[in-house]
């Protein structure tokens, strides 16, 4: 049996800090490089953006998370100037972008579909933006060579996009956007077609750009681990609205609502009623309620899998039978089913290999947990 | 091939025309629209009409093989060329009794003496057609066209079809309009090259409209087409230049490939009927070589269109056109050199 050490609890400082950061989410803060205020965009009956408000700070690494189709691409396109917004405004450095065309905005967008120039070589594609700035030839050549080396595509310089693999195309698109070193760089899933190895190196490169040139990043990603590990702050979107804007830790440890809790990190979400010091779970009876800082009255109890420990049968808050053990390399996920009819499967995560096998009877115990609102923002 | 001595096909004078059908090819508006229908009604033969835009078209079709045409209206010079290749059916005078209605002179034309392979349909001259109110004087020489007075410079047109393009120059130099002499033709070319900058345009088809609109003051024209201009503006006049001009004849021919030659002959004979041919003349405003028909033309018409009143004698003062044979490419080349010149 893997014993998760007892000292693995949240440091109070971390929790407080993140909770505080969580509050400035929607409302504009002075000193923001980019402010998105009440932006709305509909395609016929489909509302892609619905009153979006965000402030992105200077030199920040900002991540946009959200389910497929929630409006992330539309938002980036609006910021870059390719989507005419129905209402609202977008300010960069305090100035309304409304009347500046895309080529005048100090903003670059890496398109989700890459949008490489099919008639130019890889090197030409990358050099294009610098040539538009009328940089000296030598500087262009040098910067292009540097970025191609960083993206590990130097040998592809003379090929055309149609002669590249998917991941190679993505790196060309990324190189083309970052070589410009704009004030604000918008990346629409820049690393989704890359393997972990290259991806990690790309992340390092992006971080380096952030620090070396003071570039502000807005990155859309479906990789939560990427968002949480790279970003200074993260906005979680759903159905065209920002659900929560917070630091990674704040988001994870203090989700604003059920959607965010479920979306960021795996969770066990238990239905039930909040009482004074307990949570009356629909399936597991009265459970201890470790914290309820926001005083939520109706909601779900959120239990992170890594907070759930596997203990001996008969011990812990809930009794269950292991139904599956999934090995992920560094960690193993244990799925356990209780005998209560209709009860949700509970997930626990242990480091390394698990010492249980399907069919084992176990107890599940936790010390941390949070109650969140059900409603979307 | 140019043997052409196949001899006439045996024709049956009593053939049942109602079982025959023919295709007649003519320029549009060069015969009354209901002429074919009237022939059909009179003879029982079926007639279809095709139109061609130029003599060359008929020649090209006939040279290519079976043209599908029975009777064609064509310039005598081109008929001569076709006959030389054996592409025309000799006219059987027994089937065209109305040949007797023609002027005797119409039997002596050099492209086809004795009308062996063609029957004259209309004839005339090429001259000057002008707006007397715009020119301010009455021109009478090809030089009025070739070396125009300053006030009408840039307001004259010439015909571009090569035989008629060269005609004014050849005549003004005193040469034959059908010369095959290279030196004479080159002299004519020099004249034409000098004339070119003074022209408004070369125009084969719409010159009379230019006179009517006032765009042009003086044009080289066939007499009948000048009449079209006179209809719209009585100030338009026609004159045959004093250096002389051509006598052109448009004829009807029967194609060797025709399968209903009796009906074809009957059609030609029908046209030569005095009543019909005078009706045709009044309709197309071109003189016909049919004495009996011309005698029936009303004096009012001649008053309005004086050149219709031209007598046969006056007409025969002009030199009839004949085919130039091997000099043809030279004519084409000179025409090209003139029109391609700057």
């Amino acid at each position: 049996m893997t014993q998760i050490p007892e000292d693995h609890v949240l440091e109070p400082t971390t929790l407080t800090a993140s909770a505080g950061a969580g509050d400035d989410s929607g409302s504009a803060v002075e000193g923001g490089l980019l402010e998105v205020r009440g932006v709305r965009r509909a395609f016929g009956a489909v509302v892609a953006l619905d009153d979006v408000n965000l402030t992105i700070r200077d030199n920040e690494f900002f991540a946009l998370l959200g389910p497929s189709g929630c409006g992330k691409t539309t938002l980036l396109r609006a910021i870059a100037g390719f989507e005419v917004i129905d209402s609202g405004e977008i300010l960069l450095g305090g100035e309304d972008l409304h009347s500046s065309p895309p080529e005048r905005r100090p903003v670059n967008l890496m398109f989700q579909s890459y949008a490489l120039f099919p008639h130019m070589t890889v090197a030409k594609n990358i050099a294009y933006g610098l040539e538009r700035e009328r940089r000296p030839r030598a500087e262009v050549a040098e910067r292009v060579a540097t970025v191609m080396a960083a993206m590990q595509i130097s040998e592809l310089a003379k090929r055309r996009p149609s002669q590249l693999s998917g991941g190679q195309q993505q790196r060309v698109a990324l190189a083309r956007a970052i070589v410009k070193r704009p004030r604000l760089l918008l990346l629409d899933e820049p690393l989704s077609a890359l393997d972990r190895q290259v991806r990690l190196e790309m992340r390092v490169e992006l971080k380096r750009l952030q620090h070396e040139f003071g570039i502000t990043f807005v990155m859309v990603t479906h990789d939560q681990e990427e968002a949480l590990s790279m970003a200074d702050r993260v906005a979680v979107m759903a159905a065209g609205r920002v659900q929560q804007l917070d630091t990674p830790v704040g988001l994870y440890r203090n989700p604003a609502n059920l959607f965010v809790a479920g979306f960021v990190g795996a969770s066990n979400l238990l239905v039930g009623v909040v009482r004074a010091n307990t949570f009356d779970s629909e399936h597991f009876g009265s459970l201890p309620l470790p914290s309820n800082p926001k005083g939520v009255a109706r909601g779900h109890l959120v239990l992170r899998p890594e907070d759930v420990r596997i203990v001996a049968p008969g011990e812990g808050h809930v009794q269950a039978v292991v139904s599956d053990v999934q090995f992920h390399g560094a960690a193993t996920t244990v799925l356990a089913t209780s005998s209560v009819p209709g009860a949700p499967m509970l997930v626990a995560m242990v480091t390394g290999l698990a010492q249980v096998t399907p069919g084992d009877r176990v107890g599940l115990h936790w010390d941390t947990g949070l109650v969140v609102e059900d409603a979307l923002a | 091939g140019s043997s052409g001595e196949d001899g006439p096909t045996a024709l049956d004078p009593d053939a049942d025309l109602s079982k025959q059908s023919i295709v007649v090819s003519n320029y549009e508006s060069y015969m009354p629209e209901d002429l074919p229908a009237r022939f059909s009604a009179a003879s029982g033969a079926q007639v279809e009409v095709a139109y061609h835009a130029s003599n060359e078209e008929i020649v090209a079709k006939a040279t290519a093989g079976d043209s599908g045409i029975d009777v064609a209206f064509i310039n005598g010079v081109y008929a001569q060329a076709l006959a030389a290749q054996g592409l025309l059916e000799p006219i059987d005078p027994r089937l065209v009794p109305n040949l007797a209605n023609l002027y005797p002179e119409a039997n002596t034309l050099p492209y086809d003496p004795g009308n062996k392979i063609s029957v004259p349909y209309a004839w005339g001259t090429t001259g000057l057609c002008y707006r007397s109110d715009l020119t301010g004087y009455d021109p009478d020489s090809w030089l009025d066209l070739l070396e125009p007075r300053p006030e009408i410079s840039g307001k004259t047109t010439m015909v571009s079809t090569e035989r008629w393009l060269l005609l004014p120059a050849l005549k003004s130099l005193g040469f034959s309009n059908s010369t095959q002499d290279e030196d004479e033709l080159n002299q004519a070319k020099e004249v034409l090259l000098r004339t070119k900058p003074t022209l408004l345009a070369y125009d084969d088809a719409t010159f009379f409209q230019r006179l009517v609109s006032g765009e042009a003051s003086l044009v080289q024209a066939y007499d009948g087409w000048c009449n079209y201009g006179i209809t719209d503006n009585p100030d338009i006049k026609y004159v045959v230049p004093k250096e002389g001009t051509d006598l052109w004849v448009d004829v009807m021919v029967i194609m060797k490939t025709s399968e209903n030659k009796e009906a074809a002959h009957a059609f030609i004979n029908y046209v030569l009927d005095p009543e019909i041919h005078s009706w045709v003349t009044e309709n197309i405003l071109y003189k016909s070589p049919n004495k009996a028909a011309m005698d029936m033309i009303s004096p009012e018409l001649i008053e309005q269109y004086p050149n219709i009143g031209t007598t046969v004698e006056e007409l025969f003062e002009q030199e009839p056109l004949v085919d130039v044979g091997d000099a043809g490419p030279l004519y084409t080349r000179i025409a090209l050199e003139v029109s391609a010149a700057d």
Binding site: H98 | E28, Y51, H52, G65, S67, G68, F208, Y228, D232
Partner: protein, 293 residues
């Protein structure tokens, strides 16, 4: 959105666009509209006896259009042009398809070979056909000597001959646009269809044809429109026996010199073409769906 602030797509951008595109568009407008206005004006005037028009409003010419003879010609022209267009499509699509699938270095060669015959002078080309096809020409002679036929086929001077002539003249105008649209469509989409079980013929029907609809429409216009207005080929190859709208219009202007009626015929033809084209556009939109982006 404050009303007084210009959106970037509005003023400056429009001005830049106007600078770039303005002169061309202006010229286009002049070129398009001027002659059309003239034709419309003529259509309501009276004919001069030997051509031209006499000022004075008249609707006479419009009434004549409904005479059976003109309606017949109109109908005949539409039928002939439609058959020509369909045949051109039937021949042109496979040719364009095959060329678009050739290795890149061969495509240009193949295209040139296809367009080559079209580059010969229109009249000559047509005469070449007359020479080839007439009853005593090499074709009939050859077939007769081989004993294939005993009678000449009578290929010339018939409606089919006109269609062959038109087809021959305008085929490249069908092939090239289809080629252009086929060669720009993505290969992977066709692969997806065959991956999903579509036999070659289905891939053709479900992918290549819909995706080349823009080229097919273009080619259709390029063939249909000049076919309906052609007057030389009916004269030469049809022996003048089959008259198309183009002949009638030409004759009205040039030989009958009835400009008002000629103008009316032109306008009627335009109206029909616009109607046909609109119908085709609607149909093809059904077929390919609104490719709105």
């Amino acid at each position: 959105m404050p009303a007084q602030k210009a959106h970037w797509q509005s003023r400056s951008r429009r001005r830049a666009r106007a600078g770039l595109l303005g002169p061309g568009l202006l010229l286009m407008a002049v070129l398009s509209i001027a002659p059309l206005v003239l034709v419309i004006a003529y259509a309501f005037m009276t004919r001069g006896r030997f051509g031209g028009v006499v000022p004075g409003f008249s609707l006479d010419s419009w009434a004549r259009v409904l005479e059976p003879i003109y309606l017949g010609v109109l109908w005949n022209s539409i039928v002939v042009a439609t058959i020509t267009t369909l045949l051109a499509l039937a021949i042109g699509f496979p040719v364009a398809f095959v060329i678009s699938r050739l290795p890149p270095q061969w495509r240009m060669v193949a295209l040139v070979a296809v367009v080559l015959p079209f580059w010969t002078n229109f009249l000559i080309r047509t005469y070449a056909w007359v020479v080839l096809l007439n009853d005593v020409g090499p074709m009939n002679k050859g077939l007769a000597e081989l004993g294939v036929i005993s009678e000449p086929l009578g290929l010339l001077y018939s409606e089919p001959a006109v269609i062959i002539g038109l087809l021959y003249s305008y085929l490249p105008l069908m092939i090239l646009p289809i080629y252009a649209s086929l060669s720009s469509s993505e290969r992977e989409i066709a692969e997806a269809a065959s991956d999903l079980g579509a036999r070659p013929w289905r891939v053709f029907r479900d992918v290549y044809i819909p995706l080349s609809v823009p080229g097919i429409i273009l080619g259709g216009i390029f063939v249909f429109v000049p076919s309906i207005g052609n007057f030389v080929i009916p004269d030469l190859m049809g022996g003048g026996k089959s008259v198309l709208l183009g002949n009638v219009i030409r004759d009205q202007y040039l030989t009958a010199r009835d400009w008002p009626f000629g103008s009316v015929l032109i306008l009627v033809m335009l109206a029909i073409l616009v109607a046909l084209f609109a119908a085709q556009a609607v149909a093809s939109r059904r077929l390919t769906g609104k490719l709105t982006r």
